[in-house]
């Protein structure tokens, strides 16, 4: 196997026109990110300042209700808060006091803005600053918006991480920062691969605890592990950190290209790179090949969901031999996903934003073999005879890096294998 070139290829899709849609968006709001962020950051608590709808979303969004004592809650705005009968800032102080008394183990508290709090212009930044003064140094209080009027699904994580960048300490040490909340097993694999290449010190954002956080500064190089971190990317660049652009580490090719880009930035020689990556690359190729058997020459249609769509389209076309009919994404940030776009084969329709009924019409016309879509659309499409993959599973499953490459291909192939293995006609 030869090294993968991640320079844009002349026939890449980087500059194809993008279909921009502005109709009904069938997507989650940014609050949904709290579902995984509150598990990732073990000393953090997320307090949504919003409505009953926000609370209901949080317990419904994960598809199942997570009933371990959650490190999130909603401060539900009531009539008195809106009518100005109660001062919202005073109320917030009271609720935060109640909360921190109940959870003395909390070291960082996020005040999370929602649609209603944005519309009534409740200043959570001011609240966070005031409360930080009150509870420092025990508890750090930050704010970000997860509102549906400003964020889509994974953008909530972006807003959260961007809010953390501003409080990271300054450092002049040369270090590598991996940005994006990853499942623990995946994060450990990434760190161990990079360490084996001789790269370090390595820090991650978000860290599992505030005490493990790193400094950032002009000698910091950072790599994104998730494609939806545009604001965090900008915030880190404002702190003078330098981004290492690369395709995202999905599949053998993506992971190799991502590692290669970092290795180059740290002047790691080819021989070391080959030595460290050869075995896991071979394993990944083998695992993908097995799972991809049923995917070859099948067509796929991505509805917009998590912004993972473009890197995943690259993975399924290049490594699984699929054809992409359309790749929809809620938000297209070329500075971040450009390297992936450049590699996608067969230039599909790229669409940004959504008008769900029109997109469903396009999907029906394209008759793809597999549709990747949100939970609200999956069963209705199955009932129309399509085979679907829930997009949210791609966010809630370890799919990054070599050892998960086969699992990632498996996520796409399982619905097709299931469709083939069921023989329900007799039963119906």
């Amino acid at each position: 196997m030869t090294a993968v070139a991640c320079e844009p290829r002349p026939h890449g899709c980087r500059d194809v026109p993008v279909l921009k849609e502005r109709g009904q968006h069938e997507v989650f709001c940014g609050l949904t990110g709290i579902i995984w962020l509150h598990r990732k950051m073990q000393d953090a608590f997320f307090l949504v300042v919003g409505s009953r709808t926000c609370a209901h979303l949080l317990q419904s969004a994960a598809g199942v209700m997570i009933f371990a004592e959650p490190r999130f809650a909603t401060a539900i705005l009531e009539e008195t808060d809106l009518a100005g009968l109660a001062d919202a800032q005073t109320e917030l102080d009271r609720v935060v006091g109640e909360l921190l008394e109940r959870r003395p183990d909390i070291r960082q508290l996020f005040l999370v803005g929602s649609c209603p709090s944005e519309v009534i212009k409740l200043d959570l930044q001011r609240a966070a600053e005031r409360l930080s003064d009150l509870y420092a140094p025990n508890v750090r209080i930050l704010n970000f918006s997860g509102s549906g009027i400003e964020t889509t699904f994974t953008q909530g994580e972006d807003a959260c991480l961007a809010s953390m960048v501003s409080v990271l300490p300054e450092t002049r040490t040369r270090n590598l920062l991996l940005v994006g909340a990853l499942p623990d097993v995946v994060e450990e694999q990434a760190v161990s691969l990079l360490s084996a290449l001789g790269i370090g010190p390595i820090r991650v954002l978000p860290a599992s605890r505030t005490t493990f956080e790193s400094g950032v500064g002009e000698n910091t190089l950072f790599a994104l592990t998730q494609p939806f971190l545009g604001d965090t990317h900008a915030a880190l660049e404002r702190r003078k950190a330098r981004h290492i652009p690369a395709p995202f580490p999905f599949g053998e090719e993506g992971t190799t290209a991502w590692l290669r880009a970092i290795a180059d930035a740290f002047d790691i020689d080819d021989e070391t790179f080959e030595r460290v990556t050869r075995a896991p690359r071979t394993r990944a190729c083998k695992a993908v090949a097995q799972a991809a058997e049923v995917l070859r020459n099948k067509s796929i249609f991505f509805f917009p969901d998590s912004q993972l769509e473009i890197p995943l389209a690259r993975f399924v076309t290049r490594e699984c031999g699929m054809r992409v009919a359309e790749v929809g994404t809620p938000f297209l940030h070329k500075g971040v996903v450009g390297p992936d776009m450049a590699l996608i084969e067969g230039c599909p329709v790229f669409s940004e934003g959504q008008d769900v009924d029109r997109q469903l019409d396009r999907c029906r016309a394209a008759r793809p073999d597999l549709v990747v879509c949100g939970l609200g659309l999956a069963n209705p499409l199955e009932a129309e005879g399509f085979t679907t993959k829930w997009a949210i599973e791609l966010v809630f499953t370890p799919i990054h890096f070599y050892e998960q490459a086969g699992d990632l291909a498996g996520l796409f192939s399982r619905p097709l294998r299931r469709f083939q293995s069921l023989n329900l006609m007799a039963a119906e």
């Binding site: 009904q24 949904t32 009953r52």
Partner: protein, 510 residues
């Protein structure tokens, strides 16, 4: 501002969605920000619906707020009509749109759409899901129902079933069959299964059967006033209630009461000697008002349980629930605060919880078996098999469902006799359940774990007393521990030995 961890009810517009999704040929245009579309998955995933809910969300974003969200609503309304051609539209706002005051109802009315447009005013910051469903159904009925000629034969409407309801699908079948035995036909089932055209002919029925007061009471009251249609007050959940329901129906029809009990097994199963072990089991009942009250009656009269706590999360039913709790002489809890319910269960230490999916999780954590009797629903509450709560088969289903989580008959005795068997200890749970909850298994394996729990009083347990305490069944152990500590505290003792434990037992025994 209210600090909330979990909620029993969604916002009122989700109630409106349950009505719209249950109906046919109706479309709901909801002024709402992007993200509120999450509610679609409640229907497509939890209920496994094969169609998207008939709801168009305007999904406005921040950049629209400065310009013209009202126009966005207008376009969405027009597009939805053109695409779906419903017989009627309902229009309204979610919590955020309520704040920007675009008046969806007013806008839609001026658009000259060729079908009835029903505006909904659902105060998101005051009310909740059940109110939203009840109010929406009421507004639909008020707008569309017309005085019509009565059907020649006696018919009724079944009111209240909605999408995402707890066993509504099967209750409709069961009650329809039960009424057929009484010679009563069904005119319309609504909201679920009804189209706006069906709503228009509700008045053809002779009276209304309200299956779920939570979602249909306002509409039933309005029809009583406007069309002189009486409605039934008894909800036929349980054997006694089903008999009462039949009596109530025949008072309205003038017919003879008849109920085919050949398939009814609950009374005999409950009488049979193996059910002796159910006697006086302490149960805690919590759910929506209607299901909780029905469950409490069954628990006491038909299962021989001892109801130690009764509560509901919908304040609309608070009065009735309180009065029933007074009759039962048990604790009452009217709250939508999950943590309060958990505290209450912990302190009452029941042997069985009859609750919602939320209480199921409380039960898991506390090691108390739980059967689900009410919404909020979970994908498990939509079983593939026929599984009603109402009528004869409903009673059978309830018997099985409630007994299933319990350790049965002789097994319970054996567990009590040989408590120290390492494989067969009471904390392993009923043997017909393969899975042992983690908390139980831990305490099974490590005898010390119980004593690590911080006690509220500074009293030391002697090891022998601690060991003896562990011989008490786990579901009352917490209570025994607390009582013994209080007993010792009152007597100024700083240590608890075996004698103290048994003296306290004798003291609290009645």
């Amino acid at each position: 501002m209210k600090l909330t961890v979990w909620t029993y009810e969604g916002p009122p517009h989700v109630g409106a969605m349950r009505v719209a999704t249950g109906m046919t040929d109706l479309h709901y245009v909801l002024h709402a920000p992007q993200g509120d579309t999450y509610a679609d998955l409640l229907f497509t995933m939890i209920e496994r619906r094969d169609r998207r809910p008939p709801v168009t969300f305007t999904t406005f974003q921040a950049r629209d707020l400065g310009s013209d969200t009202a126009n966005l609503f207008k376009t969405a309304c027009r597009d939805a009509y053109d695409r779906f051609r419903p017989q009627a539209l309902i229009v309204g706002a979610s919590c955020t749109a309520e704040l920007i005051q675009d008046d969806p109802g007013g806008i839609a009315e001026t658009m000259g759409l060729p079908v009835p447009v029903i505006p909904l005013e659902l105060p998101s910051y005051q009310r909740k899901e059940n109110f939203g469903a009840d109010e929406t159904f009421y507004q639909i009925v008020r707008t569309l129902a017309r005085p019509v000629r009565k059907t020649p034969h006696v018919t009724v409407n079944l009111l209240g079933p909605t999408a995402l309801g707890f066993r509504h699908r099967d209750d409709i079948l069961e009650v329809t069959a039960l009424l057929a035995d009484l010679g009563v036909g069904v005119n319309v089932v609504a909201p679920m299964t009804a189209s706006p055209a069906d709503i228009a002919r509700l008045g053809a029925a002779h009276f209304n059967v309200v299956l779920y007061p939570e979602t249909a009471e306002s509409a039933a009251r309005w029809m009583e006033r406007e069309f002189q249609m009486p409605y039934t007050k008894v909800v036929p959940i349980g054997v006694g209630a089903t008999h009462d329901f039949v009596k109530e129906v025949v008072t309205l029809t003038g017919g003879k009461p008849s109920l085919d009990v050949s398939r009814l097994h609950l009374p005999w199963y409950s009488r049979s000697v193996d059910s002796n072990y159910l006697t006086g089991k302490r149960v805690f009942v919590f759910g929506d008002g209607t299901h909780a009250m029905a469950a409490a009656r069954i628990a006491r009269d038909e299962m021989g349980f001892d109801v130690v706590g009764l509560g509901c999360y919908n304040r609309e039913r608070a009065r009735a629930v309180r009065s029933m709790a007074r009759d039962l002489g048990c604790d009452v809890l009217i709250t939508d605060d999950y943590l309060e319910v958990e505290r209450s269960i912990e302190s009452l230490a029941p042997e069985l919880i009859l609750g919602t999916q939320m209480e199921r999780h409380i039960g898991k954590r506390l090691g108390i078996p739980c059967a689900v009797i009410s919404a909020p629903v979970h994908v498990q509450d939509f079983p593939a098999r026929y599984s009603p709560q109402m009528g004869i088969e409903g009673a059978n289903v309830i018997f099985d469902t409630w007994v299933h989580p319990l350790v049965m008959g002789l097994e319970e005795h054996l567990l009590t006799m040989f408590r120290e068997d390492f494989e067969f200890c009471d904390e392993a749970g009923p043997s017909h359940h393969g899975v042992v909850s983690a908390s139980r298994r831990e305490s099974c394996a490590e005898p010390g774990v119980e004593s690590m729990r911080p006690s509220t009083i500074e009293i030391v347990w002697r090891p022998a007393a601690e060991k003896e305490l562990r011989k008490i069944p786990f579901f009352v152990r917490g209570k025994a521990r607390r009582n013994t500590e209080i007993f010792a505290g009152e007597r100024g003792l700083s240590e608890i030995d075996i004698d103290t434990l048994y003296e306290a037992k004798a003291h609290y025994a009645r």
